[in-house]
């Protein structure tokens, strides 16, 4: 199993535990080592003492043996004693032994005759035991430990020679506790000494016949002091084998010293060591804890600061000292400042418009949400005003982007000045937005008007004088929407409404606008299917050639026969088709369809098809025209493409190049709606149009406004001078016709002659006008 330190949530705890643990471990090892040394020393001391005592015992044993042996020898040689033994004078022998027992202070003294007869022992059992010793004496043994009288005894024998061997005089001394006490007192330490004898079953019993039982075989075999376990606990013991007489059980002197006694003197030392180690651990814990705190306090501060930094707060930690931690704190502060700076910049970039410095759409929406939430709490209303410059695109296209940019910056400033309490943002392009909280005496209308007026003063940019105008759409929370996006969308719808209604004004959002938007989306999806389903149809409105007094051409007009809604006006679906790009396919279809019809008409009758600027932007227009002419076989000169000035607003050489290439096919190019918008004479110079169509607005005013006649006159004169034909649109009255004829207009178009009609009606009209053609058709 791997040892793993528990995980701590605090560095300080970890350090304290680690150091205290290490110190404790070291202290433990030192203590254990000291304990072991102490114990070993104590053991050694006891061992050497035991060895010394053992040696003393050896000497004592020898001395005693020699002393008693000497005494026995002396008696054995005493002539009278020998005579008594040799002659079997038992009374004399017993008295002599008694005398000797008293003199030598030995408990047992007796004589063993050569015939094994024992004299001097009254107890029959003991006498029997003594008789057993004859063998050993006969074998020449004179000293040893035997079992005699139920106890281990040391016997010393001396042969009685008279002069031949007639027997042995034997002394036996006790080896019991009383005898051993003398030995114990000789030792420097209170050694326990006892003689053990081995039983046949391997047990060793105490010499005095006591009940002590011990396993001593290995200790006796060892011969050195060893540790053994006694009933008093562990002890150091030395067993000295004692010479045993033949036939007697093995005996040993066991010198023993309980380890507990040996170590008693060292207990205080051991306790002291343990106490010192414990105090050391406690001191280490306290010291480490304090030290770790001084280290970790700055780290903890940094940790907390880093967490606050991560949460997005601005933070700064106190710098303490000049060490690594101090430098780290400094670095951290620099880093935090850097992060704050960068965040500021990123935030600015993310939420502000680079050109004007105004908040961008994202910030606008965020602020709007904020305002809406505040409104929810405080009540009242929040108004969003979408401000869009009218015809800004023209400025950009004609005067260049730098001028346009400068204009946007100026408008931004003007809006900010006008809406002092509002929040002004640039949503993109020429679209601005303002958030305000209208008050009782500060209605939205007043601000809208103020903004419109603020925009309008003349701007002078790089020598150009510009007169900007703006349109405004207004949506007000909570009525017009509860969330920012809805509110903005509705303001935008209102803005579009303003544009539709003629610009330079403002509109409030109405639910109808939303419905219109939905209607428009429906229209868009229907429109996508319409071409596939063949729901489109071309109607034709004749253009009457005033010079020849006949129909010169037809303008093809798109009609959409919606399956459920009936006919839908081009005014309604063409803008949608243009916005979605569907106009490209629809326009191509119109060109082909127009050619299909026109090729059946009389040779002098042309067909005119309107081409959207969108078609000009997308590639493939000339291919569509070429293919339509090729498949129908229509003379190119009989196809007239009507374009509006707006294609020039895209203002590129590519447009002119496309016009020239179409013209080079032989196709005629007419300029439609001339006189409206940014009509510029420079267009007439840049391209040799075949025809100019004078906008209906001039024709309508022709009889009522004096200037109108002059304009029409000027246009026709200009066209004639440039070799272009002219067509007047929207002619409804014969007076108008007369006036136009008077001014030299080439052709006229309008209800005066015919409203747009379907192809069958065209055939009828042409047949009516030209019976010859009719005949040809009928014949063909």
């Amino acid at each position: 199993m791997r040892l793993q330190l528990p995980r701590f949530r605090q560095l300080r705890t970890r350090l304290a535990v680690l150091y205290a643990g290490l110190f404790g471990l070291a202290a433990l090892f030192v203590s254990l080592a000291l304990f072991a040394i102490v114990e070993r020393n104590a053991t050694r001391q006891v061992q050497s003492e035991l060895v010394a005592t053992g040696t003393v015992f050896d000497r004592l044993w020898q001395q005693r043996t020699a002393q008693l042996g000497g005494a026995a020898g002396l008696l054995a040689r005493d002539f009278g004693f020998r005579a008594a033994v040799a002659t079997g004078d038992e009374g004399t022998i017993v008295s002599a032994l008694d005398n000797l027992r008293r003199r030598m202070k030995v408990p047992v003294a007796f004589v063993v005759g050569m015939d094994g007869k024992v004299t001097g022992i009254a107890d029959p059992k003991m006498r029997e035991e003594a008789a057993q010793l004859w063998q050993a004496f006969d074998a020449g043994e004179t000293s040893g430990v035997v079992r005699l009288g139920g106890a281990a005894r040391h016997v010393i024998a001396a042969p009685i020679l008279a002069p031949n061997l007639v027997g042995w005089i034997v002394f036996a001394t006790d080896l019991d506790g009383r005898e051993m006490q003398g030995l114990q007192q000789l030792s420097a330490i209170p050694i326990q000494a006892a003689v053990y004898q081995r039983q046949p079953d391997g047990r060793w019993i105490d010499a005095s016949g006591g009940d002590l039982v011990a396993q001593l075989d290995s200790t006796v075999a060892d011969g050195r002091p060893t540790r053994m376990v006694t009933h008093e606990g562990p002890a150091v013991a030395l067993a000295k084998p004692l010479p045993a007489m033949a036939g007697a059980p093995r005996s040993a002197l066991l010198l023993r010293y309980p380890l507990e006694f040996a170590l008693a003197g060292y207990r205080q030392l051991q306790f002291g060591i343990a106490l010192v180690a414990l105090i050391g651990v406690l001191v280490t814990i306290v010291a480490t804890w304090r030290m770790a705190r001084s280290i970790t306090r700055p780290i903890t501060a940094l940790d907390a600061a880093a967490q606050r930094l991560a949460a997005g707060d601005e933070v700064r930690v106190a710098v303490e000292g000049r060490d690594e931690l101090g430098r780290l704190a400094e670095s951290f502060n620099r880093m935090a400042e850097g992060i704050a700076d960068r965040e500021q910049r990123i935030r600015h970039l993310a939420f502000n418009d680079l050109l004007t410095g105004l908040p961008n759409r994202a910030l606008f929406l965020e602020h709007l949400e904020h305002e809406l939430r505040a409104r929810e709490r405080n009540g009242g209303t929040v108004a969003v005003l979408c401000v869009d410059l009218d015809d800004f695109k023209t400025v950009n296209d004609t005067l260049g982007h730098p001028v346009g940019d400068a204009m946007l910056r100026a408008i931004g400033e003007r809006l900010c000045n006008a809406a002092r309490h509002g929040f002004v943002a640039r949503l993109g392009g020429d679209e601005f937005a303002v958030i305000i909280r209208p008050g009782e005496d500060d209605p939205v209308e007043r601000l809208a008007q103020k903004l419109l007026e603020a925009v309008e003063p003349v701007l002078r940019i790089e020598g150009n004088e510009l007169t900007p105008h703006a349109s405004i759409g207004i949506a007000i929370a909570p009525h017009d929407g509860a969330d920012a996006r809805t509110l903005l969308k509705h303001a935008d719808l209102a803005l579009h409404r303003t544009k539709e209604l003629g610009r330079r004004s403002f509109c409030f959002f109405e639910e109808a606008l939303n419905e219109r938007a939905q209607e428009r989306r429906r229209l868009e999806s229907d429109l996508r299917a319409a071409l596939r389903r063949g729901e489109f149809e071309l109607y034709f409105q004749p253009l009457f050639d005033l010079a020849r007094n006949r129909i010169g051409s037809f303008e093809a007009l798109l009609r959409w026969n919606h399956p459920t809604r009936g006919q839908i006006s081009p005014l309604e679906f063409i803008p949608v088709a243009e916005e979605t790009g569907l106009i490209v396919d629809i326009g191509a279809w119109a060109i082909r369809e127009a050619c299909v019809h026109a090729v059946r008409w009389p040779g002098h009758v042309r067909v005119a098809v309107n081409v959207s600027p969108v078609q000009f932007r997308k590639p493939g227009l000339s291919e569509v025209v070429l293919q339509a002419l090729a498949t129908t076989g229509l003379e190119p000169a009989r196809l007239e493409l009507e374009i509006t000035e707006s294609i020039f607003l895209e203002g590129s050489d590519a447009t002119l190049g496309l016009l020239h290439s179409l013209r080079s096919l032989g196709v005629r190019i007419a300029l439609d709606d001339f006189g409206t918008g940014y009509s510029s004479l420079s267009y007439l110079q840049s391209f040799p149009f075949d025809k100019i169509k004078i906008d209906r607005s001039f024709i309508q005013n022709l009889l009522t406004r004096p200037g109108a006649t002059a304009i029409v006159r000027a246009i026709t004169d200009l066209a004639q001078a440039l070799g272009m034909e002219t067509t007047a649109e929207g002619v409804e009255e014969s007076e108008q016709l007369a006036e136009l004829r008077h001014h030299g207009c080439s052709s006229v178009q309008g209800y005066l002659f015919s409203r747009p009609i379907d192809s069958i009606a065209v055939d009828a009209l042409l047949a009516e006008e030209d019976p010859e053609w009719r005949r040809q058709r009928l014949a063909g």
């Binding site: 043996t65 020699a66 042996g69 000497g70 026995a72 020898g73 040689r77 002539f79 020998r82 005579a83 040799a86 002659t87 006969d138 020449g140 004179t142 000293s143 010393i156 001396a158 042969p159 020679l161 008279a162 002069p163 031949n164 061997l165 007639v166």
Partner: protein
Amino acid sequence: MRVPFLFAVVLLTPGLATPVAPGGVTINVRGADGKPVRDAVVTVHLAGRATPPPQAPGVDYVVSQKDIQFHPFVLVVPTGSQVAFPNLDPVRHQVYSFSAAKRFELKLYAKEQNRSVQFDKPGVVALGCNIHDQMTAFIDVVDTPWAAKTDAQGNVVLNGVPAGTVTVAIWHPYLRAPGNSLSKTVALGAGGVRDSFTVALRSPPRMGGDY
């Protein structure tokens, strides 16, 4: 110097009908280690028959004391013999015996003094000197005409023994056996008999040795 003393009996006891075996009884005594044992006394008694008394007691039996030793170490004498104990040493000796066969004590006597003791009972008499413990000698008082001690080669030849079953006994002061004696019965033919004893000896008691 101890000379093996042999008294070969040539005379036949009167009235003894059995012819003497010419080959005699030849006995060899060896220790357990195979070495010859000298000073072992070999006696022959007739089995099932009365053994004739030994020859008339001799006169020249001597156990002298010289160089604090008895000489000879073992002396074989017939019952009733007189043994002289001359002291040839410059010191005094006190010769004694506690043996059952003959208990006597010759009080201290000096050089050139001679004492005699008559040994009238058969048996071994251990001699000691009460002054010098190391002095030991043995007199084997025998009641048979056929007795002798082994020579240095452990041999004894006893002639003049009548053929038939005889008991041969050996005795040695240190023989490890009851009474320091062993015996066996052998059949003695006309050509004599040759036999041997292998004995275990205990070491001589060392006087004044260490204990």
